[in-house]
């Protein structure tokens, strides 16, 4: 029983990281209308930046502040330079472009940092175990991860619901032609949303580092899972991504405990079931 509870909690942690990636994908898809295939590679880049910063400063805190900002700037730059020419064209072209970008990022990192992984020191301040009363004691860092993810999700939600900028973003997701007709400089919002999405992927990269270390291919596997989360939760659905991310994290984690060889397959089986019986996703709009 203790083991099950611990495994559930670990599942929530990995699910929380998936949620961050899926939310970024979802937001970018909503406003920019393409799937950012380079999302996983950008997450990996964020993790590598963290690894260097954390080794330099000896702690994670600076990285947690600097990396999201750096990633947001990079995201804005990418959107302005190579993604913008894609808007008038077929949706497929933007997908392919970001797919090529993935190659460049992964190989670039391999060239600079080598193919082997790097370790990221976990913050000394959080180097203790917490006894939650149920299950075995958990490293405090994992609880910190869940806390940060919770804050980011809440922040994004408040940004979308309570600010004027968020209002325009939501309106743009619904009908960007109308938003433009009302005189909004829409391309600025596209840049902003892409930057936010990339920054959130960067935060996920920062948080992952101390748990698994960093390696060039880390983005590829989790990107596929993030896709599955987006599909299961429902394309464009904010809370769908949150629910599906946590659900898949927990399911994989619990399957690992009882039948580890099926753990890799579980998300896909869930996805096939959802696509067959509820193609719009758990919480997706029709």
């Amino acid at each position: 029983m203790d083991q099950l509870v611990s495994q559930l909690l670990l599942g929530l942690v990995s699910g929380a990281l998936l949620v961050l990636l899926a939310l970024g994908l979802n937001l970018i898809f909503g406003l920019l209308e393409f799937i950012n295939f380079s999302h996983g590679a950008l997450y990996m880049l964020g993790a590598y930046l963290t690894s260097y910063l954390a080794t330099m400063t000896g702690d994670l805190w600076l990285a947690l502040l600097v990396v999201p900002i750096a990633m947001a700037v990079l995201g804005a730059a990418l959107e302005r330079t190579i993604i913008r020419p894609m808007y008038g064209r077929d949706q497929v072209d933007a997908l392919l472009l970001t797919f090529g970008l993935t190659y460049i990022l992964i190989e670039g990192v391999r060239l600079v940092a080598g193919s082997g992984g790097r370790r990221v020191p976990s913050p000394g301040l959080l180097d203790f175990q917490v006894d939650l009363g149920v299950g075995r004691p958990l490293p405090a860092y994992l609880l910190f991860v869940v806390l940060v993810v919770g804050l980011v999700v809440a922040g994004l939600w408040l940004f979308l619901q309570r600010t004027n900028v968020g209002l325009i973003v939501r309106a743009g997701i619904r009908d960007h032609v109308m938003i433009r007709a009302l005189g909004v400089r829409f391309d600025r919002y596209r840049t902003l949303v892409f930057a936010i999405g990339v920054a959130v992927a960067g935060i996920a990269g920062v948080l992952t580092g101390p748990i698994t270390g960093v390696y060039p291919e880390m983005g590829a596997d989790i990107l596929i899972l993030a896709f599955v989360v987006v599909v299961v939760g429902g394309m464009g659905s904010f809370w769908g991504a949150v629910v599906a991310g946590l659900l898949i994290g927990v399911l994989v984690s619990v399957t690992t405990l009882y039948a580890s060889i099926y753990a890799g397959i579980v998300p896909f089986v869930l996805m096939i079931l959802v696509m067959t019986f509820r193609p719009r996703g758990l919480l997706g709009a029709t």
């Binding site: 190579i82 797919f99 970008l101 190989e107 670039g108 599955v228 394309m235 099926y262 397959i265 089986v269």
Partner: protein, 353 residues
């Protein structure tokens, strides 16, 4: 629903049920109307050039196999507007199917190819039925997920796939033809293997050209241009896309089977890792024809064999070329030859006058 039985393809003139859709497909231009049957001649020329210029026989045969696989994928990407990120699934499935038949059932090359292509056709029907529940980005993500699922199964189902080690020691296939029996040993007699592969590839390639020129193929292109309108014309658009998915999967299954026969080995690497590579081949070569991806495969493999020796991060260059292709030459290398250069020449002539 509309009757989609394909009447025998005529000389390319739109006839009967396809006419309305053709009008839609042709008016927006991108259709490969100019190079249809010429592609087959081009392929023969390319195969002969590869045969005489590529020194490494297994690379030369690989070019034919990858080319066939990429051309099949382009039925989905270029003609159908459906970008599959999981085209390694049918390729690997075909490889495993052929490998298992050769290992456990019979060393007949015909049987291995038949099982590889036939079983993949059935599987494609199932996978396609799920992937095509929603199109566009959903389709891309779902195909990727299915390929990942297949990878996990191949990795974990040790008793059949031998997991990480893969199926090694696949016996040399024998080809029974009326009157003669030929051993298809790619190591000892690469020329026979090359010629056999070339014939198979040409026949399948011709069948694919026929498919794109059939009324059904025209409807497929019409759907790419405007699905709503094609549905408005009364076509069962999802059925046409599913049929194409099955055709592309079958071709990839066959290519995977050939690849297994070439290497006498099937394993996780490289079979499952090539979804991205084959897509790069398609975009590099050009989406607007079936010959383009074939050319893309040949060029990609040439790049790989020449760059990978001198520069470990050669994929960085490939990625950069790919991005430039998408940004500046969406029609790829073959599009550069058939569309961009002629228009430059025409402009040059005009100014010369």
């Amino acid at each position: 629903m509309t009757d989609l039985r394909t009447p025998p393809a005529s000389d390319g003139t739109p006839a009967g049920t396809g006419a309305a859709a053709v009008t839609i497909a042709r008016t927006r231009g991108a259709g490969p109307a100019r190079w249809t049957w010429g592609q087959l001649a081009l392929l023969v020329v390319l195969a002969v050039v590869v045969m005489f210029t590529v020194p490494n026989p297994s690379l030369a045969i690989g070019m034919l196999v990858y080319g066939l696989w990429a051309a099949g994928l382009n039925l989905l990407v270029g003609y159908g507007g459906l970008v599959s990120f999981g085209h390694a699934l049918p390729f690997a499935w075909g490889g495993y199917a052929a490998g298992l038949v050769l290992l456990h059932v019979s060393t007949s090359a015909w049987l291995a190819m038949l099982v590889a292509a036939g079983s993949m056709a059935v599987l494609s029907l199932l996978v396609g039925a799920v992937c095509l529940r929603r199109t566009e980005v959903y389709f891309s993500m779902l195909t990727l997920a299915f390929a990942q699922l297949g990878f996990f199964i191949a990795l974990q189902w040790d008793s059949v796939t031998r997991g990480d080690d893969g199926l090694s020691g696949i016996p040399v296939p024998t080809l029974w033809l009326p009157g003669v029996t030929i051993e298809l040993n790619a190591l000892r007699d690469p020329l026979t293997f090359f010629l056999f592969t070339a014939v198979v590839v040409l026949v399948v390639f011709a069948a694919m050209v026929l498919y794109t020129e059939s009324p059904m193929g025209r409807v497929l292109q019409a759907i790419r241009e405007n699905e709503e309108r094609a549905r408005g014309c009364g076509y069962n658009t999802r059925l046409v896309q599913l049929a194409t998915f099955v055709v592309a999967g079958t071709v990839a299954g066959l290519a995977g089977g050939l690849f297994a026969m070439l290497n006498n080995f099937v394993g996780l690497q490289p079979y499952w890792l090539l979804s991205g590579v084959v897509l790069i081949m398609v975009i590099l070569g050009g989406r607007s024809s079936l010959f383009g991806p074939f050319l893309g495969a040949v060029v990609y493999l040439l790049l790989e064999s020449s760059l990978s020796r001198s520069f470990a991060s050669w994929q960085l260059i490939v990625g950069a070329i790919f991005v430039v292709c998408v940004l500046a030459f969406p029609q790829g290398l073959w599009g550069l030859v058939t569309q961009t250069l002629p228009s430059l020449v025409r402009r040059g002539r005009r100014t010369a006058r």
